[in-house]
Symmetry: C2
Subunit: 387 residues, 2 copies
């Protein structure tokens, strides 16, 4: 049993798995760690990739829910504003001084609208998505009461089968209704194809996105014909962003996962059939876990179960090993197949989470490591902000 | 669009989905609600069920992670102490004054052992599970350094295939090693069959548990033969607890889910083939959600996705409806099949979560309702306490 801590237990608070300056070996598990070198590589790579296209990057903060991560993203060229998914999430980021937020979602409840208007009234540029006529009057009234204006994108259902209008006819109706209010400003379209981001084959993603781009073009023509100006077409994710960037119609991209990567994106292939998380991006986010039982032959049990990761997109991958496999996840435990019985009690492993967004939302802290040391502890600032 | 709030947005804080005294209709979604009448029914029923057996109830707090819920459970006769799964969780409950805690898990890391010993040194009776010889010296040293004692159960792997020793031989070795220390006290066995709790058929659960009971009896004989006293056999869950209670060998039960129920337990049948959540228990926990888009014919989209529920055990069930079905869950949305297009924007639905434990761990608050009013707001005190 390895145990050679360089601190006393009083150093690590009740609520914190590590402290800056600590050795990475001493981090309390289970917790999320960010490998800062890999994270910075991903951030830099994205803005380099987008440099030759006429699009801005508006990273999606629903993925990381961290003010610190958002500020690192916003510091890079070509990046303007962030995306959020919920009003309470947007409140966290606007209170931290971020002054341009797109809610990539519908906000319908009266109190939520009032709070959203409050963010706009505080000086933050707020944009929200709309797919329902009755929502327009509610939003207009809310903004008007706070003496402010809210920017609006009409959401287009481009095949994800969730929210959004079907096509130009409904789009025009909503755009006109938005333009007819004093407190709402029609900016354009949201056309995000969420369902296709994790499609493994590049050809399949490209084919679907070409259809979406045609759908967007038809919308732009119908808006132009009606004399309605469309300044924004927003969408795109880590799986498809270069297709949107090259389309000539998208003006901003909402990528999120590129900053961290996850096991599911590791199964997605690039144009030449290579894994996105090796050939294009780096795994920057890990769930650090410790072995806590080796009682059974050929098996080890670790301390990372369902309460520290979401398995909706599959089980985690153990980073850096090819002979041990995470095979079963229960509330508090992970069972690892370890046929050579090589894993020892208290040994630490880095897991690549199956799906980064809902996994990050389970944690209070990112422990940021570089060169075997803890460099920062970043709060998951908007964790649990679901309403 | 229904909207007739009885409060201003200033009443509901940035962090709270509701306030005591509010109408249940005005609760901000998505959030967890506890139906207090149903919750109290479940708590009362459990102690009534156990009255005729010679067992105590030690409810598992890993399910609800709430000091308020634990105190309600401990106030009832036949209940003694609680179970926790992690040291940080136990710290929350011991700081709240709960003075008898069993960690139903291995604690191996040096710092975790030191903190565990700290809880014991503060006057709380602490018990922990052991399945590894090297862990005994580490625990003994930790307790000794804090000048305290820790009670120990040897964990038996009774088929769940996770932690635990295989049988009497290893058990005896560990029991003797525990007894040989000054700071550890061998109390007995943990024999929890987690894998069988959600088996749908009562006969199948009974058959497996009879095998486990035989396994426990063999362990008790071998301890007795060796002259080692075994005061505790701990185990049992909501799916099997009456079998353990009637066994004559279990002394305490670790049930958790009975207090809240979930959709997965709704698929588990009692002795006469009835659903556990209707014939035996009541659904007391709900994920309250609002409809936020009805743009597609035959579909509605609600605001409860993967970030407010765990779908590891299946999708949630919509309570009180038989003609609308939750059919798809993404990060922030749920897609509901609504062939009659009956659901309206802002309409609220109660979802029965697929799996209560990891769902509760996603939330900061329980909004407790009775008679259409919010009666309490209980913090999910140990949410995120995973280390």
């Amino acid at each position: 049993m390895k145990a050679n801590h360089t601190y006393s237990e009083d150093d690590i608070g009740f609520n914190v798995p590590a402290l800056p300056g600590m050795r990475a070996d001493d981090i309390q598990t289970p917790c999320l760690i960010i490998d800062l070198d890999q994270f910075e590589f991903n951030l830099q790579k994205m803005v380099k990739e987008l440099k030759s296209y006429n699009v801005t990057l508006r990273p999606h903060a629903k993925m990381h829910k961290s003010v610190d991560v958002a500020l690192k993203q916003l510091a890079l060229e070509g990046t303007k504003g962030i995306c959020c998914q919920k009003v309470s999430e947007a409140e966290v980021f606007s209170r931290a001084g971020i002054s341009d937020i797109l809610i990539t979602n519908q906000v319908c409840d009266e109190l939520k609208i009032s709070r959203l208007s409050g963010i706009a009234a505080s000086g933050c540029r707020v944009t929200v998505c709309i797919d329902n006529l009755s929502n327009i009057s509610a939003l207009a009234e809310g903004a008007s009461k706070k003496n402010t204006q809210i920017h609006c994108l009409v959401e287009l259902d481009c095949g994800a089968g969730r929210c959004g209008v079907a096509g130009p006819e409904e789009l025009l109706e909503l755009a006109k209704a938005i333009d007819a209010t004093d407190s709402l400003i029609f900016d354009g379209l949201q056309a995000y194809q969420g369902g296709i981001q994790h499609e493994k084959s590049y050809e399949q993603r490209d084919e679907v996105m070409q259809g979406v781009i045609e759908q967007v073009k038809a919308c732009l023509v119908s808006l132009e014909t009606a004399g309605i100006s469309c300044r924004v077409v927003s969408g795109g994710g880590t799986g498809t962003f270069l297709i949107e960037a090259a389309s000539g119609v998208y003006t901003e991209l909402q990528c999120g996962s590129y900053a961290f990567m996850d096991a599911d994106y590791g199964r997605v292939k690039n144009k030449v059939g290579q894994r996105l998380d090796r050939a294009e991006w780096k795994n920057a986010l890990f769930l650090l876990t410790s072995i806590m039982s080796t009682a059974r032959d050929g098996r080890a049990v670790c301390d990372a179960g369902l309460k520290v990761q979401s398995v909706d997109s599959g089980l985690p991958i153990i980073f850096g090993y090819d002979d041990v496999t995470y095979i079963n996840c229960s509330d508090e435990h992970g069972v690892i197949q370890d046929l050579k019985n090589k894993l020892e009690i208290n040994e630490k492993l880095r897991l690549i989470p199956g799906h980064c967004d809902p996994t990050c939302n389970l944690h209070d802290w990112y422990v940021c490591v570089r060169g075997g040391k803890v460099e920062h502890i970043w709060p998951v600032s908007a964790r649990g902000k679901a309403w």
